[in-house]
């Protein structure tokens, strides 16, 4: 390979400053290094950390624009409340009276409706401490309904292999990168730069997604599949590879606890219906299977949504069976799954101090909670804009909910529904632990102090718990009675054998350029999935690949809907930054020009997207990024059946017109 010396970079800031803070960007889970330049308590410049192994001085728009969120005039800085949600929120006299009132209302609701009437929603911006604090509070309270947008962390994998894939900087050793429903160009731009680096060094990039995303635009080979069918694609590829004997027999023997039944399950699997379910001809799948078999080591990069769908573990099975795991440039890299299992579902408290009715349950699925007619949700505590993103099924039920307490920084749609609001510190205003996609553990030092009245998520739960006499269960108060984030995260790391050997001080004093990954030190991993050390239970093939045939729903809603990630948005706060707000319309509904033509829809028309679970209003944006049978928008929930029509067009008329569409 050619010796290439890139042009020397000349980094730095020209702004006058009092001091610099070296920290880690927490807008997404890539974990880029930041140098914040501060003057008079305000950030005057943000530059990338040149020595940082992941980001090498680069930053995306979010890593710069977050600064605007800290000082926006719209920012919430005072607790507020109202009895009637049709009236305006009235400011309260500080957190003390706010939490007194919240505790009183919660007590009242518990007496009338029982503990399970409380639901807690945590968004990513609220921070890991808000989520973990919520878990503990919920266990003491007696509700199991705590939700977080990231799925369960992966189980520890067999000893001898530290992880199913190495860091993103290792992708340069790969001969092929296979991205499945992972639009790194939009969701993780800095990690995407490593895809390009690998591509420049000869790796073939194959990307599969429902939309023609930025990742597909840069890939060498593309595959457009139906939304949320990525894991099905994995099963089909495994079947095709096994049928041709493309697997690595030695790796199968060494990596799996059992092989004959597993192979038999794939032999029995029929590929009938897979073309229709994926929307891909069998020849294309065959071609892809052969390409992957020939171009090892391959790193499979899968999107976050796939983790919540069945058969997610097929990817670890595939990567292990092909002998990619453990080789430089090979393995399985699930995006947004870099946090270790954190033993938070099993809190039992000190002996005999645990209150009556405490739960140890795994949280139910959202759909189950919604269908529990005998135990309706009467109170919601949530951070950010949960009710209008991943908890949106509850956003429409708010009429039946007596109390909605909002913990957030901006007057978003959830805040508009709230009966109480508590202002939150943003990540740049609180110390915290950050787990990157690569499993790197980094200490995010706070850059500036939060505005008066804004507090961390741990503070919120700790002070609320005091109202119920549960101080002993939140033993992380500092000298000023506020939550001591360092003490909390030290405790947290001590809870898991994967991180127990690490101290917060070690992370704080880490030189720029060095990283610590979990598992820390030589750890004997508890292998929960298997009693056999060093092996995994391979994911077997299901009885049938494709789901059932046409339903009545399909006839009523002939299109599919997908939620889109916008490259300059990472969460609730990002909707308020002036620097990125104008770059992309959030109400854009992407429709294929041919479908739009049939329906008489033109660019910019007001349209409605109808789904079995509700309706979404937006403006038509004609784009070939979506295929004829797909509509996409930043709002809403992926994987639904849909129908799109103009506001002055009836549903039946749209259905009739769409009959001419060859899907």
């Amino acid at each position: 390979m050619l010796d290439h010396h890139p042009i020397k970079r000349f980094p730095g800031s020209r702004q006058e400053q009092d001091y610099q803070v070296r920290t880690v960007c927490q807008e997404c889970a890539v974990g880029c290094g930041l140098v914040a330049h501060v003057k008079d308590g305000r950030i005057v410049d943000i530059q990338g950390e040149e020595e940082h192994p992941i980001s090498r001085g680069r930053l995306c728009a979010r890593g710069t624009a977050f600064v605007q969120g800290l000082t926006l005039p719209e920012r919430l800085t005072q607790p507020a409340s109202r009895q009637d949600r049709r009236q305006a929120l009235q400011p309260l006299d500080g957190w003390k009276s706010g939490l007194d009132l919240l505790a009183e209302r919660l007590r009242h609701l518990k007496e009338r409706h029982g503990p399970n009437a409380l639901l807690i929603g945590c968004d990513l911006e609220g921070g890991l401490d808000f989520y973990l604090g919520a878990m503990r509070f919920a266990q003491l309270w007696g509700t199991s309904q705590v939700f977080y947008p990231l799925g369960e962390p992966l189980e520890p994998w067999p000893s001898g292999l530290n992880s199913p894939a190495a860091s993103c900087s290792d992708w340069i050793h790969s001969r092929c990168l296979f991205l499945v429903e992972a639009d790194l160009a939009a969701s993780h731009p800095v990690a995407c730069s490593w895809v390009q680096e690998a591509q420049r060094r000869g790796a073939r990039v194959v990307a599969a997604d429902a939309r023609f995303t930025g990742a597909l635009a840069k890939a060498d080979e593309t595959l457009r599949i139906k939304p949320e069918q990525g894991n099905l694609l994995g099963l089909a590829l495994m079947k095709l590879i096994l049928a041709e004997g493309g697997q690595d027999a030695a790796a199968v023997g060494a990596g799996f606890t059992e092989t004959s039944q597993w192979q038999a399950s794939f032999e029995q699997l029929s590929l009938e219906g897979v073309e229709a379910a994926l929307g891909v001809p069998l020849e294309r799948l065959q071609h892809l299977a052969r390409l992957l078999a020939q171009r090892g080591p391959v790193t499979v990069i899968t999107g976050r949504e796939l983790a919540d769908l069945p058969h997610h573990h097929i990817w670890l099975t595939l990567a292990t069976a092909m002998g990619w795991v453990g080789r430089p440039g090979g393995g399985w890299y699930p995006v947004d799954a870099g946090a270790p299992p954190l033993k938070i579902h099993t809190y039992t408290g000190e002996a005999n101090t645990r209150p009556e009715g405490g739960h140890r349950e795994i949280p139910p699925k959202l759909a189950e909670v919604k269908s529990r007619a005998d135990q309706p949700v009467r109170a919601i505590i949530c951070s950010g804009n949960c009710l209008y993103d991943y908890l949106s099924p509850f956003g429409r039920l708010t009429e039946q909910v007596d109390l909605i307490a909002h913990f957030g920084s901006f007057p978003n749609a959830t805040w508009e529904q709230a009966s109480m609001t508590f202002p939150a510190a943003l990540w740049a205003e609180r110390d915290g632990l950050s787990f990157s996609n690569d499993r790197s553990i980094q200490w995010g030092t706070k850059i500036v102090e939060p505005p008066d009245g804004c507090r961390s998520g741990l503070d919120f739960w700790m002070v609320l718990a005091r109202r119920f006499g549960w101080e002993a269960h939140f033993p992380w108060a500092g000298e000023d009675s506020r939550a001591d984030q360092a003490a909390f995260y030290s405790w947290l790391m001590a809870q898991s054998p994967l991180t127990a050997k690490l101290q917060v001080d070690q992370l704080r004093s880490l030189e720029p350029g060095s990283q610590i990954f979990w598992p820390v030190g030589k750890t004997v991993l508890p292998n929960a999935r298997s009693p056999y050390k060093g092996k995994i239970v391979p994911h077997p093939a299901p009885a049938a690949l494709a789901p059932g045939a046409e339903t009545a729903e399909t006839a009523d809603y002939p299109l599919a809907f997908e939620a889109v990630q916008i490259s300059c948005r990472s969460g609730d706060a990002s909707r308020f930054w002036p620097w990125t707000r104008g770059l992309s319309r959030e109400d854009a509904v992407q429709i294929n020009p041919e479908t739009a033509d049939l329906l008489g829809i033109e660019n910019g028309d007001d349209v409605l997207v109808e789904t079995p679970r509700g309706r979404l209003a937006g403006r038509a944006c004609l784009s070939r990024a979506v295929s004829r049978w797909l509509v996409a928008s930043p709002h809403g929930v992926s994987g639904l059946k849909a129908l799109v029509h103009k506001t002055d067009q009836s549903l039946d008329e749209a259905r009739h017109l769409l009959k001419k569409l060859s899907l």
């Binding site: 943000i46 731009p189 300059c568």
Partner: protein, 173 residues
């Protein structure tokens, strides 16, 4: 005073993934509101039929022309061209008349509504004078923006092309 050296900003658009990192970096550096955008990423496409689609992103900014129409047109002398080639507007002299915006064949200068004066790419002249890279180049995650002396940038283009050829050989191995 030592003579300022000329630099080149090369836009290797085939690498751009449309993350808008350059746009946000520019606005922070120059304390600009949401609009105007002195560097702007334009999405082209997807174009084509069926599976054969193409989509690209094109970062666009001031060309810093050799014979800039905006400088000729400016009635107050605010718009100037430096010896190192950077075309910039001196905000002390700018009266916000937007004659430069009319004169520019590429539609580059825009009014900054927050100040009532023209905001356009000034090549990060203050940073460059301090020996620093322009803000957009430094933050670009994908090395779409390449900055340096003309000889060094030309060498870089040559190397990149050679790497592309080398890559086709690796593929065929």
């Amino acid at each position: 005073m030592t003579k300022r050296k000329r630099n080149i900003l090369l836009v290797e658009a085939s690498r751009c993934i449309g993350c808008f990192g350059c746009e946000a970096a520019c606005k922070m550096e120059h304390d600009l509101p949401g609009e105007p955008r002195p560097i702007r990423v334009i999405q082209v496409g997807p174009l084509g039929e069926g599976e054969e689609l193409l989509m690209s992103f094109q970062p666009t900014t001031c060309c810093h022309c050799d014979r800039p129409a905006c400088v000729t047109a400016c009635p107050t002398g605010a718009m100037q061209k430096r010896e190192d080639g950077i075309v910039f507007s001196d905000l002390e002299l700018c009266i916000g008349c937007q004659t430069c915006a009319v004169a520019c064949p590429f539609g580059v200068p825009h009014l900054n509504p927050a100040t009532g004066k023209i905001a356009k790419c000034d090549g990060c002249r203050e940073r460059v004078d301090q020996g620093l890279w322009p803000a957009c180049v430094l933050k670009c995650p994908t090395e779409t923006l390449i900055f340096g002396g003309p000889a060094r940038v030309l060498q870089e283009i040559g190397t990149q092309e050679a790497l592309k050829v080398a890559k086709t050989f690796t593929r065929e191995e």
